[in-house]
Amino acid sequence: MAPDGWFRRKGNAAGKAARKHLDALPDGLWTKCPKCGEILFSKELEKNLKVCSKCSYHFKLGAVERLAIMVDEGSFVETDAGLVTINHLSFPDYESKLAKGCANSGLNDGMVSGTASIGGHSVVICVADFGFMGGSMGSVYGEKISRAFERGIETGSPVIIVNTSGGARMQEGLVSLMQMAKTSAAAAKFGRTGLMYISILTDPTMAGVHASFAMLADIIIAEPGALIGFAGQRVAAQAQVIKPPQGFQLAEFQLEHGMVDMVLPRRDMKDTLAKILAMGARR
C-alpha cells in the first residue's frame, strides 16, 4: 500500500504532504486489535489489508488506502478535487473541524471521486474517508457523488461507491439534508441507463448516507462486522428501552434482513468486483 506509486492526483497538492493513514492506528511498530486484543505487527497487518490475522476484524481504511487495494495499479485519476466547502451558516467551529479533517485525511472532503479500472473494467469510483469529519455528507460530498453518477452516464461506465459515514453534515444545515435527495435523484438518473451501480458499505455506514445513495445500488456489498444502519444504536435503544437484538446493525444482520447482497472479506473484494463488473459489461 504505497499511495504515491499509483495515486495520480490532479488538484489540491497542498493536502498531499499531510496525507497519512487515518484509522487511528498507533504510529508504532505494533497495533492492538480492538476486537480480540491481539497485538499485531503493523507491517504484517498492512500486508494483510488491515485485517486482524487472528479474528478477521476489519480495521478502517482511509480513502487512499482503500483505493490502493481496490483498483488496478496506477489507474486512479481523481476528479472534482477542487470543490471546497463553504461555511455558509457560519456554524460554530466548522472551519476548525474542516481543518482537522483535512489534516487527518490529507483530503479536502470526506469523499474522493475519480475514475479507475478494476480487473480491466473502467469505472467511476467514489471512496469515503471516515477520517474527514466522520465521512459526513455536506455540499461538496453530495456534489461529488452526483457528478460521479453523471460522469458514469456520460462515459457509459459503472459506478462504484465505497461508503463510510456518520450521516449528513449538520454544520451545513438543511442543505446537507438536501444532499440525500440530490444524490438519490442522481442515482435514479443513472439507474435508467442500464449501467451497474455497486455500493460497498464499510464500518460505519449510517444515517443520511445509508438512507440515500448507499442503499440504492444494484448490488450492495458489506465488509464483515461493519456497523450499518439508520439511527445510532443509542438512539434506537433509547426509543425502545430494551436491548437491541444480537448483532444489531452489523453487516451480517443486514444480510439476514435482506438489505445487502453479500458480506465480503476485504481480500476478496477486488476479484469479486471484477467478476461482477464482467456481468454488467457484456450486454
Binding site: V84, E143, L174
Partner: protein, 322 residues
C-alpha cells in the same frame, strides 16, 4: 387549553381570557361591550404581531410542534372533498404515521400523502408520534406510483419529528425505504407539491419531500437534525436546543433565503393553531396556484424539473485545478 399554551403565548392567552370573560359578562348581563371587546382584541392582535415579529428559531420550533397545531388530516378535512383513504404497503403492514389517499381539490383529483401526528396521548401512540416506519414510506410510494399511473398530481404533507428508529424499523430497512422514496419520487411523471406544515424532521421528512415545489407554512421548521440532538453532539447538552436551532437556521425564512424551498405560506395571526380555517384557506390557495403553474409542464418535464431543482441544491466553492 392552558396545557397547550407556549410560554411565548402566555401574554396572549391572558388577553384571550379577558376577552372571553368580557364576552361572557356581556352576554349574561345583556350589556353591549363590543367597543371594549374590540379594543382588547386590537390590543391582543398588536401584541401577537409584536411577539411574532421577533420569533427565534427555537420559538418557531415550538410553534411547529405546537400540540394544537393543525395536522395533515385537519388540512385534508378542510381543503379537500371526497377523501378516500387508502391503506397498506402490500408488503408488511399499514403504518398509521403516514396517511394517504385520493381526494378532490376544487373538483380535480389528487393523491395525498402525509405524516400524521396524534392529538391526544392515545392517538399519539396510534400514530407513533408521526414517526413513520418503512411500511409508511412504502405505502406512500405505492400511492404515488398509483397517482403517476393514473396521471394525477401528488400533494405531500410533511410533519414528523423524525423517521422511526425502533429495532423493527431498522430490521425492515428504514434507510432503504427513505432512500427508495427519494429515488422514485425524483422520477415521477406527475406534479408533486410538498408542503411542510409543522416539523420537517431530517430523513423522516425528505423521504416524502422530493417535489417540484416545496412550500413551507410560515411557522414550520425543516432541519437536518433535531436541534436537541445537535446540541447533544456539539455541546454535549441537549438542553441547548435553542442555541442549536439558531445555528442550524431551521426556519422557513432561512430555507427560502438559501433557495431550498420555493415559497412561504402565510399563517393566520398567532399561528395556524389559532385559526384552522384561515390556515387551511391559505394553504389551499398556495397549493392550487402552484399546481396551476406546474400544469404547463409535460409529463416528462416533471421529472426533469425535479431533477434540476435538487441537483442545484448545494453551497460550495471551486478552487482552480492545477
Amino acid at each position: 387549553m392552558a396545557l397547550n399554551v407556549l410560554d411565548l403565548e402566555k401574554p396572549i392567552a391572558e388577553l384571550d381570557k379577558n376577552i372571553a370573560a368580557l364576552k361572557t359578562v356581556s352576554e349574561e348581563e345583556g350589556v353591549d361591550r363590543s367597543v371594549e371587546i374590540a379594543e382588547l382584541e386590537s390590543q391582543r392582535d398588536n401584541l401577537i404581531s409584536q411577539i411574532f415579529a421577533n420569533l427565534s428559531a427555537w420559538d418557531k420550533t415550538l410553534i411547529a410542534r405546537h400540540p394544537s397545531r393543525p395536522y395533515t388530516l385537519d388540512y385534508i378535512r378542510a381543503i379537500f372533498d371526497d377523501f378516500i383513504e387508502l391503506h397498506g404497503d402490500r408488503l408488511f403492514a399499514d403504518d398509521k404515521a403516514i396517511v394517504g389517499g385520493f381526494a378532490s381539490l376544487s373538483g380535480r383529483p389528487v393523491m395525498i400523502v402525509g405524516h400524521q401526528k396524534g392529538r391526544d396521548l392515545k392517538e399519539r401512540q396510534y400514530r407513533n408520534f408521526g414517526s413513520a416506519k418503512p411500511e409508511g414510506y412504502r405505502k406512500a410510494l405505492r400511492l404515488m406510483k398509483m397517482a403517476e399511473k393514473l396521471g394525477i398530481p401528488i400533494i405531500s404533507f410533511i410533519d414528523t419529528p423524525a423517521a422511526d428508529c425502533s429495532f423493527g424499523s431498522e430490521e425492515r430497512g428504514i434507510s432503504e425505504a427513505i432512500a427508495r422514496n427519494m429515488y422514485e419520487m425524483s422520477m415521477l411523471t406527475v406534479p408533486v407539491v410538498v408542503v411542510v406544515i409543522g416539523e420537517g424532521g431530517s430523513g423522516g421528512a425528505i423521504g416524502l419531500a422530493v417535489g417540484n415545489r416545496i412550500l413551507m407554512l410560515e411557522h414550520s421548521v425543516y432541519s437536518v437534525i433535531p436541534p436537541e440532538s445537535c446540541a447533544a453532539i456539539i455541546w454535549r447538552d441537549p438542553t441547548k436546543g435553542p442555541q442549536a436551532a439558531e445555528c442550524l437556521k431551521i426556519t422557513a425564512q432561512h430555507a427560502l433565503e438559501n433557495g431550498l424551498i420555493d415559497e412561504i405560506i402565510p399563517e393566520p395571526l398567532g399561528g395556524a393553531h389559532r385559526n384552522y380555517d384561515a390556515a387551511a384557506a391559505s394553504l389551499k390557495a398556495a397549493v392550487i396556484r402552484n399546481l396551476e403553474e406546474l400544469s404547463e409542464l409535460s409529463a416528462e418535464d416533471y421529472a426533469k424539473d425535479r431533477y434540476a431543482k435538487f441537483r442545484n441544491m448545494g453551497i460550495f466553492g471551486t478552487e482552480p485545478q492545477e
